[in-house]
């Protein structure tokens, strides 16, 4: 395992110190492992709290700042944060207008956020939640844990962040979050495994000539394994399941995120193959992000997200944002 770390057991604490040193405009609560807008709480503004296991940077800590999140709770690598972290974040950002919890659909995240919401309600804070479950690699069913939450979360945090910044109330912000969540789908592929520092070895073995199609951002197995294919073929493996899952035609926000170990030149190359497939499927990619936004430690791979967008979503997307991970107009 070759990583810039001091000790596998202190990765999160050490990384948070780095965030504190490097990112202006945020305050890092090292005890609770919460990254906060420096100016939180903002009176009268709906507070947005997200969080999840670490190892997906810039998500979520990199999206804290004006126009996006008020707080992000950082769990251990690939492990949901705990309710007390979430409660601390919720209390710190509540400006009297209530707090929205943005949760990715993993049992751990859902349960811990649920407990945190109960605790916050007990302290008189109004909390609502939205659960993102957009990974088409997983068969959907009401009888199972359902789909994993992946890339749509990033786009949701930006859009909902703009709405909260603009003063929308908790009901409106929640409704908007549910709209984005319902309109987003993602699909990922891994060329290599990631290596969790505490484990010290790759999470899964993937032969040199194989790739994992439909991988999860924690190294969860995908739909199937097959021979390493060309970027052109891989593009089809990402686009087709999304287009088969829902009618994606019309304006959209598209994100191609690297998983941490894939360089930008490859992401652009892959996007060059994805673009015509999306167009052929009627997707009008109005806004495009190509880069590392939701990662899986050092995994080589990529994840495609398509969020159907209307004028409202595009307008909120374009609103100013000032975070380490996304910044424009500010």
């Amino acid at each position: 395992m070759k990583k810039f770390i001091n000790d596998p057991t202190t990765v999160l604490a050490d990384a948070l110190r780095g965030v504190q040193a490097a990112v202006p405009g945020v305050r890092v609560d090292l005890d609770n492992r919460v990254i906060l807008r420096a100016d939180a709480p903002r009176s009268g503004k709906v507070g947005l709290v997200s969080g999840g296991g670490s190892g997906h940077e810039p998500m979520h800590g990199g999206f804290v700042g004006p126009g996006m999140l008020d707080a992000a709770c950082a769990g251990e690598v690939f492990t949901s944060p705990t309710p007390d972290q979430m409660l601390a974040a919720t209390k710190a950002v509540d400006g009297g207008a209530g707090v929205l919890h943005i949760v990715k659909n993993y049992t751990g995240d859902v349960l811990n956020f649920e407990m945190a919401a109960e605790l916050a309600s007990a302290e008189g804070i109004r909390v609502e939640s939205v659960v993102v479950a957009d990974d088409v690699a997983v068969e959907d069913s009401t009888w199972t844990a359902g789909r994993r939450g992946v890339g749509t979360t990033v786009i949701l945090e930006k859009i909902v962040g703009a709405a909260a910044e603009a003063g929308q109330d908790l009901d409106a912000v929640k409704a908007l979050a549910e709209k984005v969540s319902a309109n987003g789908r993602s699909m990922g592929v891994a060329l290599t495994s990631c290596t969790v520092p505490a484990a010290g070895k790759p999470t899964f073995e993937l032969p040199d000539d194989q790739m994992e199609v439909g991988v999860g951002i924690h190294g969860e197995p995908g739909r199937h394994r097959e021979a390493l294919a060309s970027a052109r073929e891989i593009a089809r493996m990402l686009v087709d399941p999304i287009l088969h899952d829902f009618d994606a035609s019309g304006p959209a926000i598209v994100m191609l995120s690297g998983l941490g170990g894939t360089p930008l030149i490859e992401l652009y190359l892959l996007y060059g193959e994805i673009a015509p497939l999306l167009a052929a499927g009627g997707v009008d990619a109005k806004r495009i992000l190509v880069g590392d936004y939701i990662t899986s430690l050092d995994m080589a791979g990529a994840s495609l997200t398509v969020v159907k967008a209307d004028d409202e979503l595009l307008r909120l997307w374009d609103a100013p944002v000032e975070t380490a991970g996304l910044r424009w107009g500010a």
């Binding site: 296991g53 769990g75 251990e76 690939f78 492990t79 949901s80 944060p81 705990t82 309710p83 007390d84 993993y106 049992t107 751990g108 349960l111 811990n112 649920e114 407990m115 997983v138 068969e139 009888w143 199972t144 844990a145 994993r148 969790v196 505490a198 484990a199 999470t203 899964f204 999860g216 924690h218 190294g219 969860e220 197995p221």
Partner: protein
Amino acid sequence: MAAITVEGLTAWINGYAALITEHQAELTELDSPIGDADHGLNMNRGMTAVLAAIGATPPTTAEALFKGVAMTMISTVGGASGPLYGTFFLRLGMTAGAESELDLVSFGTALRAGLDGVISRGKAQPGDKTMIDALGPAIEAWQREAASGASPGEAASAAFAAAEAGRDATTPMIARKGRASYVGERSAGHTDPGAASSALLFQALRDVLGAGA
């Protein structure tokens, strides 16, 4: 009628922590093919913190003991198992009440309340390949033994045997809850890590209450 003292209950928790540390790698290994390879890490982080908390101020009632265990697990474990085990111990403690000792039936009622908490939080059904597939049979066995006047050792042995059987029964199951559900049918053939850590909980109880022979 035989009773279990708070010292006995504390020894149970201490013993559980030791078993978790001993089996940490194995639990994580079980969590690899169908999960994210952290169940041993998560449980060990939590139970190590529990040990430290108990050692600092030894509790004098069952309620204080189990609420402490619950709060520590909830705030240190994370993942799915943190809130689930946390809820288990929270309800267990609330139902046991501020007593310094419990008879076998009362302890069984408290265990059942803990299980109900896990079910209402996690929404899993028996057969979904989760920890409740070990907890459920174990608690049922305890209650059955307690009702028929068994000794603590007999009840604990029966519960542990049922937990082990429940754990092993998860192997062929197709997961419908938790992270293992993502792999769908490919989850069959692997033992559920949460069921394995739950079986250890009753192993610790058996160890503390004696083989009951």
